[in-house]
């Protein structure tokens, strides 16, 4: 024991080491790493309870609500919570709701949602159902009945493609949006304006902040923020015009279906079509109809099997908005645009005369390619205006040759592709920027495209010799390869009508918040211009006027009171093998030819001649716009293009 005091020093040293270890670690935890732990402590104890905002309304230009909200008692099932007795629960629910088991199962069998996400299986159930399930909670594990605000469409199918619909947020969307205030049970705009303006329509969810203990018991409430309703969309769309456009499109399709094809081998199918009414001066869309259509109310109450297979799988593709989501060959409606381009490049002039032979061959072409006019007669020399009026193809074929030759001579510099550049100036080959989703850009054929184009997806080259003169020649008459959307064509005609402003087509006039303040209005709608003189544009408008009075659409517009409402327009019949021809008419209407107010366009898939298929639809829509009595033109024969 003599060494006790020195051995006590050893013990003391060990104790000192303990204190050093503890102090060092405490310094690290409490001084160096404290920020991280403070964050974790905050995450631990703060809980949020969210309340959903009311979605904004969608109103037409006069304030008619096109989309409203209504209360629905919704039955939701969380698959994870169904328990081992899930089948019995669903059977019980089926009896209570009087919905077949397979319908409930079908709605549950989805991989769009997480298994811990409540899935709606029935909407608009009675309060009795809610009370019953609430009372016998043990019999219905994983089942809840919650009041929700769902969409209401006072005018049913009207403007379905434009308005769009909502749907429960998908699993992958939720992953992306959960930081932006979305909950698993939230709906989100799926298509149309509902999708594009989701950010405005949604509103801000209300938040109640709680401090909770480790058992989840609330200790105290911190802040409350009430939900803010979404902003209302005030549209340029006019309910009356929209309904007129839809009715005239539908009536027109039925009428066309009774008429034979040009070779009289079959009746026209007229299976689909689109009508656009646009303000020529501003680009404001007053009506946009697409057929076939669907009923957005299906998505409120959940699609039945039949509705689902029709909407998603039927070959008629009712989900497509044909005004913007498909590219079509424009036919002769394109001649107003290509005629202006020919004037701009000096290939045509207002005073010039151009021959309209029955056949045309590109000068120097030895391949034997011959382009035919729509008639076998040689009509002789005519002005550009008259060529538009009677839609002479060979006049435009010759302009196409000149565009091609210019390209060949200037291949190495950027100015070679005059026709393509001019068409892009008119907005073709690019989306218009309309406030709707999934717009297509169409196609302006150019050398790059000609190099890559193939027959079928992986077939041989469509143009083994590359960019041949026929491509420009056919583009001049709007045939074969060029593709436009109805809205692009309406936009280009709008520029011709308003003196050269390429106005971005748009549907929303203003967005108004719940306080009544305008939060957004479209800007720079007409900032782009096309480089044509007022006299050139007036010249084309006059030509379009003579189409109605003495040209290809004269019989269709026979008896139309042009003294009251000036109308100009252009027919188009686009071959689309193996289908029947696409029928087009682009009209403009107003007080006079100087500043037409409306562009009215109709396009009918497999609708035959423009003059007989689409033009009468445009005539009747214009009559509706101007409150004119509905009248009918003469029986137009074939031969109009």
């Amino acid at each position: 024991m003599d060494k006790a005091s020195s051995r006590l020093k050893v013990l003391a040293l060990l104790v000192v080491l303990m204190f050093v270890a503890l102090s060092t670690r405490l310094w690290f935890l409490q001084v160096l790493a404290t920020t991280k732990f403070q964050q974790e402590a905050a995450n631990n104890s703060v809980r949020f309870a969210y309340s959903e905002p009311v979605r904004g309304l969608i109103l037409d230009d006069r304030g008619h609500p096109l989309v409203k909200n209504q209360e629905s008692l919704e039955v939701r099932i969380t698959r994870d919570d169904l328990g081992s007795d899930g089948e019995a629960v669903i059977l019980r629910l089926s009896k209570l709701l009087k919905i077949p088991v397979h319908v409930i199962v079908q709605r549950l069998q989805t991989n769009q949602y997480y298994s811990y996400q409540p899935i709606p299986v029935a909407e608009f159930v009675s309060p009795r159902v809610r009370d019953y399930i609430g009372e016998y909670r043990d019999l219905f594990p994983g089942v809840e009945v919650v009041p929700t605000s769902v969409r209401e469409y006072p005018y049913g199918r009207t403007a379905a493609h434009v308005l769009g619909y909502d749907g429960l947020i998908h699993a992958d969307e939720y992953d992306k949006l959960k930081d932006k205030g979305y909950e698993q049970t939230d709906v989100i705009g799926r298509t149309g304006l509902e999708q594009v303006y989701e950010h405005y329509l949604r509103g801000t969810q209300g938040v109640q902040k709680f401090i909770v203990n480790s058992n989840g018991e609330t200790i105290r409430a911190l802040g409350v923020r009430a939900p803010t309703a979404g902003d209302d969309l005030h549209l340029t769309l006019d309910l009356r015009m929209q309904r007129a456009a839809e009715r005239q499109l539908y009536d027109g399709l039925l009428r066309i279906r009774g008429t034979p094809t040009s070779d009289r081998s079959a009746l026209l199918k007229a299976n689909a079509g689109a009508v656009i009414v646009m303000d020529a001066q501003t680009g404001a869309i007053r009506a946009m109809a697409s057929y076939p259509s669907y009923d957005p109310r299906w998505f409120v109450s959940g699609l039945t099997k039949g509705e689902s297979s029709y909407y998603y799988d039927s070959p008629s593709a009712p989900a497509l908005n044909r005004a913007i989501q498909l590219g079509y060959v424009p036919g002769s409606t394109f001649k107003s645009v290509t005629g202006l381009a020919a004037m701009k490049e000096g290939f045509a002039s207002m005073g010039g005369y151009y021959s309209c032979p029955a056949e045309y061959t590109h000068p120097g072409d030895t391949s034997g390619t011959v382009f035919h006019n729509w008639t076998t007669a040689d009509i002789g020399a005519m002005t550009l205006s008259h060529a538009i009026e009677i839609s002479c193809d060979t006049v435009f074929d010759a302009f196409g040759s000149q565009f091609y030759d210019h390209y060949v001579q200037n291949q190495l510099n950027d100015s070679g592709l005059l026709l393509q550049n001019d068409l892009h100036q008119f907005g073709f080959g690019e989306t218009t920027g309309v406030d709707l989703p999934a717009e297509t850009a169409g196609l302006v054929p150019d050398p790059t495209w000609a190099e890559q184009a193939r027959i079928g997806t992986d077939g041989p080259k469509l143009f083994p010799d590359g960019f041949v003169p026929g491509i420009d020649i056919l583009t001049m008459i709007g045939s074969s390869y060029v593709q436009v959307t109805p809205l692009q064509l309406a936009q280009a005609y709008g520029a011709i009508a308003n003196g050269g402003h390429l106005c971005r087509p748009h549907l929303v006039d203003k967005i108004v918040d719940p306080h009544g303040d305008t939060v957004k209005q479209p800007e720079d709608k007409c900032s782009r211009t096309i480089p044509y003189s007022p006299s050139e544009l007036a010249y084309i408008r006059a030509a379009l006027g003579s189409v109605i009075t003495g040209g290809t659409a004269s019989c269709t517009f026979a008896g139309f009171p042009t003294s009251q409402v000036w109308v100009g327009g252009k027919t188009g019949t686009a071959e689309r093998p193996p289908y029947q021809d696409t029928s087009w008419f682009v009209g403009m209407a107003g007080k006079d030819a100087n500043s037409p107010k409306y562009i009215v366009l109709a396009m009918v898939e497999q609708g035959g001649f423009g003059a007989t298929g689409a033009a009468p639809i445009v005539r009747h829509v214009i009559e509706d716009l101007y409150h004119l009595p509905e009248t009918h033109g003469g029986g137009c024969g074939g031969g109009d293009l």
Binding site: M1, A4, L22, L29, T34, N213
Partner: protein
Amino acid sequence: MDMVAGRAWADERRPVRHIDWVLAAVVVALTSVGLVLLHSISATVPDEAAFWLVRIMKQGATAGVGLIIVVVICSFDYRFFKVYAGFIYLASLAALVLVKIPGIGATDPSGVAQRWFSIAGIQITPSEITKLCVIVMLAAVLSQIRTPEPTLSDVVKALAVAVVPLVLVFIQPDIGTSIVIAAITVGMLIVAGTRLRHLLILSVVGVLLIGLAFQLNVIQDFQVQRLTAFLDRANAPEDARYNLDQSLVAVGSGGLFGRGYLQGTQTNLDYVPRQHTDFIFTAAGEQFGFVGAMFILLLYALILWRAIRIAALAKDPFGTLVAAGIASMFAIQMFVNIGMVIGIMPITGIPLPFLSYGGSSILVSFAAIGMLESIHMRRFT
């Protein structure tokens, strides 16, 4: 020496004049801190305020009883314990055996361990008392050595004394107390002058025995899980990590000066399991921060300083060894408990002296202080 001077001399050496007031003051301070922390845990837990009030009063009453125990024990001459060391030791072994007998010992709510007697609603944990009994017995054995340093047979004899209660405690199972007994033994062997070579052999044997214990599945699953959770935190199951995670968040979020009394969300919202017993230090770390934690460490440092000083000043080897054993006990309990709370030691159920809620632990700590005082007071007699 005349009578007056002799009386004065004797008077000077009267034990009551040599109370270690520093030690007494630190113990009172630590106990007060414990009550303050216990109150903070209970203050904002809803519906349990009354329940917690009972706990605080119980803890306060226990501390009161503890002070009486200090007075009683220090009024005895500590050498009294040397005389009765054998009886004390055997009695504690008997208690450890009895507690394992069904119907006599009480099983804890989890059903895993059987560690205490329940007498008139008061829980008595024999393993806590065993710690002091082992100290007394070891001190009695080691103080008999007449050679300058213990021979191997002395060391084995001392080990035999320690191993029997250690095994009995270990199979309860109470790994925490086993660790404390082992540390006490090592600490006392060091102070007794054991050769370094013997200590090394001892540590090798110890490691082998621990390995054997794992091999023979003597160690309970939850204890293995705690250990793996400590060694491989990232891959540990959520349950095994939870306590440590919450404890680290609590201490770490305290920062330099703490979040303020009753302002700690981890503590006050009851996120740290067992925060009134083994994890009481989290309440201090969160509410009073690094400064508060260091203050508590300072109080323990003062206790250990006084204990080692008493060991150095003691009149005889028995006193030195008892004081060194008590110093070892407090040191290892403080280190393992705070170490596990801040993640540098695995989680074992070792209470923090004077702070953790629990009667037996508090009373044994006070009894140890009483023995320290007794040794200090009689260093001249």
